[in-house]
Symmetry: C2
């Protein structure tokens, strides 16, 4: 036996087991069995979590920069992260504390709201397709095409046979973009209804946060069991080796953030991007630059 963990992404005392393995949805998954207050893979506390989040920023950035760099010379790899959750589960915090660590050039963020009239006049994937990230980018969907099988199912905005059709359409779509070089990671941030209530009340108690509160959010909250059922079905029907689901316990914000950070790092490590070779002769170019220093331009 060795002290060295098998996977480089867990080579830190913070993680006792790789969260990207622990949180990945497998056979026989039941959302009901996931404790939103748990912290799989670590025994650390909030202070250690925040330190880990800061510590791993450099690792994340270097992988992203390599991914971006290799695309400039033709590599097609890119990553798409889909974030889904009930309101106040912490999507915004994950964006602002994990994805904000990336260089702005490498991040393509798409926040999907309720569809517009023009969007509703098309198939549900019409507005999604143009937002698929290009080579070298990390795409982030804050809500996504999964809204079309979550709120649309729970609210009955589409009939059951249309919802059923959509699971297949999503699978076809994700298979197709995976074939084009898009690595897909789908993440549900999972809070308890009690924790959601605490967060909604804290928004209501702070006038500077009122803009984040929408009375309609509470109407969705009252349909909690229906939403959990819709998540369970959507996850079951759309998980795939090329497009896995991860359910991240999110009652502790620090845990959700370090877990998502580690999942993204692990997926980038699987892509294993490399600094591209130069398509020019560095010695020749160096001589050209040096020669140009002899030029005398008007001051």
């Amino acid at each position: 036996m060795t002290e060295q963990p098998e996977h480089p992404s867990t080579a830190t005392p913070f993680w006792r087991a790789d969260p990207s393995a622990l949180l990945r949805v497998g056979d026989g998954f039941s959302l009901r069995d996931v404790d939103p207050g748990s912290a799989p893979g670590t025994h650390a506390d909030k202070a250690a979590g925040l330190a880990e989040l800061a510590r791993s920023a450099q690792e994340l950035r270097e992988l992203q920069e390599k991914l971006f760099a290799q695309s400039r010379l033709g590599a097609m790899d890119r990553l798409l992260v889909v974030l889904q959750a009930m309101d106040a589960a912490g999507k915004g915090g994950v964006v602002n504390h994990v994805f904000a660590q990336l260089e702005p050039y490498g991040l393509a963020l798409a926040a999907f709201k309720a569809p517009s009239e023009a969007e509703r006049a098309h198939d549900f994937l019409w507005r999604i397709e143009p937002r698929v990230p290009g080579p070298g980018l990390i795409g982030l969907f804050d809500r996504s095409h999964y809204e079309d099988v979550l709120i649309q199912r729970v609210r009955g905005f589409a009939p059951p046979e249309e919802i059923a059709r959509r699971y297949g359409a999503i699978n076809d779509f994700e298979r197709r973009i995976a074939d084009a070089g898009v690595r897909i990671v789908k993440i549900m941030l999972h809070v308890s209804p009690e924790e959601q209530a605490t967060r909604l009340i804290s928004r209501l108690d702070d006038p500077d946060k009122h803009w984040k509160y929408n009375p309609g959010d509470l109407d969705e909250r009252l349909l909690w069991p229906e939403y959990m059922e819709a998540f369970q079905i959507a996850i079951e029907r759309t998980r795939a080796a090329h497009a896995p689901w991860f359910v991240v316990p999110a009652n502790r914000k620090w845990y959700a953030r370090v877990a998502v950070q580690r999942i993204v790092i692990s997926e980038l490590q699987r892509i294993d991007p490399q600094w591209p070779d130069a398509d020019f002769d560095p010695a020749v170019e160096r001589a050209r630059v040096e020669a140009s220093l002899g030029l005398h331009w008007p001051g």
Copy 2:
């Protein structure tokens, strides 16, 4: 006399004078008189500059969050920052060290490359218009429609009468979007040719940076005087009260970054965004959330 500076943006010992005033292009401007190695407004050194950059991040973020928040309730204000420079002048560093401080939700980054065949088949503003930021956003153009009067003039890609037409077209365009609520700030990062050479050589000496080097960049470098003339003319003809130009000395990277950060903060302070009032009754909503805690959902 008082110790309090007049403008809140200079309420720091780092700045002895407001760089957003010092670097703003005024009457009789001559690019030739700007020393790329200077640091107007401060006597501080690099260490103090990096500390200032970190210290002011919170101020920048809070202004941005307010700008974003007020747009959710209908305010139309947004900011567009246009970045132009010779290669290796530090645009990337400004993006990664200043604009990376913003929440990803609030930043709309558009990097304009050489126009595609489809883009060349349209007027030069055709590809620019869709990238104008929406309400609440900070738009950042890394290169822009100014390429169409810089490289296109220097290289003769368009005839002189077409270049002449474009200054007027740019002024009309910027006036129109300003009228729609877009505050426009145009920034030239100004390096010396000697500093550029040093940076190009340092890229060539580091294989991990080779992807950032393009042999074509050196061809542009050899036209330095022509580029400076093109910048001088473009700045003269397109500066306006609603769309000012700033020329930022950029031989010292830390200076360029804190100066751009302070210019952006100053412009956001002029917009003076406010937390929006709630369009619901917080007490009523709080009672609704609390009532929902009594519900018993299946575990």
